[in-house]
Amino acid sequence: MATVHLPRSLVTLFPDPPPRRLEMAAATLSDLIARLDEGWPGMLNRLCEPGPQIREHINVFVDGERVRDLDAALGPQAVVHIIPAVAGG
């Protein structure tokens, strides 16, 4: 099971918000986001843009490494952090 950490600014977009930390079975990053979208419809559109690709200012780290490839494989004990980039004013 992958352990996923979600940012506050993402979970608060959903009326029945997901926990900030949850565990999910997923073989790839794409699978993981699809599972999140099943549980919280609309999550896919918040994390990905047409392409499909991860949104420009969303950073995803798998086991500490920044990953942009939605097909990236997740190990059975993967730790995934989804973190908005530093931006704004």
Partner: protein, 358 residues
């Protein structure tokens, strides 16, 4: 029963609702809503007064927010708000306009979407971007945004839209095909005669009692069309500047319009000489009067953006505008006198009104 007046305010950092009674003298502020997302437009629609807010977030993209409990809780969706995987990505939503049970959204880069299920899913009104001019659309300083959606009040197949730095279009077949509607409108930023498209409309609208009469504040003047946009007549003379963003039509008098001239497109785009004025015409733009009673007359370098002026339907009509520096000014007497009704809000992008009985 008494009227409760609301100002629905979209800002760079969230949506707000300002509330008053029919006297429109004392106002309370609620918000920020929508998780402080940049909100270009906040409206109420439908018989139940559902709130819809539209915008786009730098991290999470464009979305339309909905609240069915007066702002207590919100959901959001952008399902279907896409041109496709190989097409330009939509960055934000500039305008929401309800019409005949449908909610329309104008987006950036310019396009029109519709929702027939209360904002849960969206479909592209593809005919507009199939217009042969589309490959030549170029963004202006404000982006390539579709900001004005003007449905015909009785003919569901007719609609006009306004796109910055592109101009006005009309459909008469429900959005399948569109024609440019820019004849008579200047485009000082391109050499030669005015082109068929490329004019920079800033805000366009009509009064439902006279649906063939359109008005627009343009980058290059203020205009009226008496034939549904086929030919425009400039009505700038009498105004201190051709440049401004918003334009509002009096809800009970189709001949009365309001604009807020700014000092110029290359001069800062603020109040002329720091003197805050709204200008009103009671004769369809043939003559203009300055309205500044109660507004700051010096050192007020305020800007007002395209969606940030609105009227209410009470008698006498109220008129309101929000500034790029977070002030909201209001008049409860058609612009004869004004008061500052909110200050210190984030930069204001839109103001709408709503009336409820309480």
């Amino acid at each position: 029963m008494s009227d409760r007046v609301e100002l629905l305010v979209g800002t760079k950092k969230g949506a707000f609702i300002l509330e008053s009674d029919a006297a429109r003298r004392d106002w309370a502020v609620r918000g920020p809503f929508c998780e402080t997302w940049p909100i270009h437009h906040l409206v109420r629609a439908g018989s139940d007064g559902t709130l819809y807010a539209a915008g786009g977030n730098a991290w999470y993209g464009p979305s339309v927010w909905r609240s069915e409990d007066d702002g207590a809780t919100w959901s959001q969706s952008s399902t279907g708000l896409t041109y496709g995987d190989d097409e330009p990505k939509i960055t934000t939503i500039w305008n929401l306009t309800p019409s005949n049970g449908t909610l329309y959204a104008g987006v950036e880069p310019a396009g029109l979407f519709r929702s027939d299920d209360r904002g849960q899913t969206w479909s592209h009104v593809a005919g507009l971007r199939e217009h042969p001019s589309t490959p030549e659309w170029q963004p202006g300083n404000g982006g390539l945004c579709l900001h004005s959606i003007v449905p015909h009040p009785t003919d569901a197949d007719r609609m006009w839209v306004g796109i910055s730095a592109v101009g006005a279009f009309e459909t008469t077949d429900g959005g399948t095909t569109w024609e440019t509607r820019n004849r008579g409108v200047r485009a000082d930023f391109v050499p030669g005669d005015p082109p068929e498209f490329g004019q920079c409309v800033h805000k366009m609208g009509l009064h439902p009692a006279h649906p063939d009469v359109l008005y627009q504040q343009n980058h290059c003047g203020v205009y009226r069309s008496d034939d549904g946009g086929r030919q425009w007549t400039e009505i700038t003379p009498g105004l201190p500047s051709q440049f401004g963003f918003p334009m509002a039509i009096h809800p009970h008098d189709p001949s009365t319009i309001y604009v807020i001239p700014l000092n110029g497109d290359d001069k800062g785009r603020h109040m002329i000489d720091g003197h805050t004025q709204v200008w009103r015409s009671r004769d369809r733009g043939e003559s203009w009067q300055s309205l500044d009673n109660g507004l700051p007359k010096r050192d007020a370098y305020l800007g007002v953006l395209r969606e940030a002026m609105a009227t209410d339907p009470l008698q006498p009509t109220g008129i309101y505008f929000g500034t790029s520096t977070g002030q909201v000014f209001g008049s409860a007497d058609e612009g004869e006198s004004w008061q500052l009704i909110a200050d210190f809000l984030p930069p204001i992008w839109s103001v709408e009104t709503s009336i409820a009985n309480s």
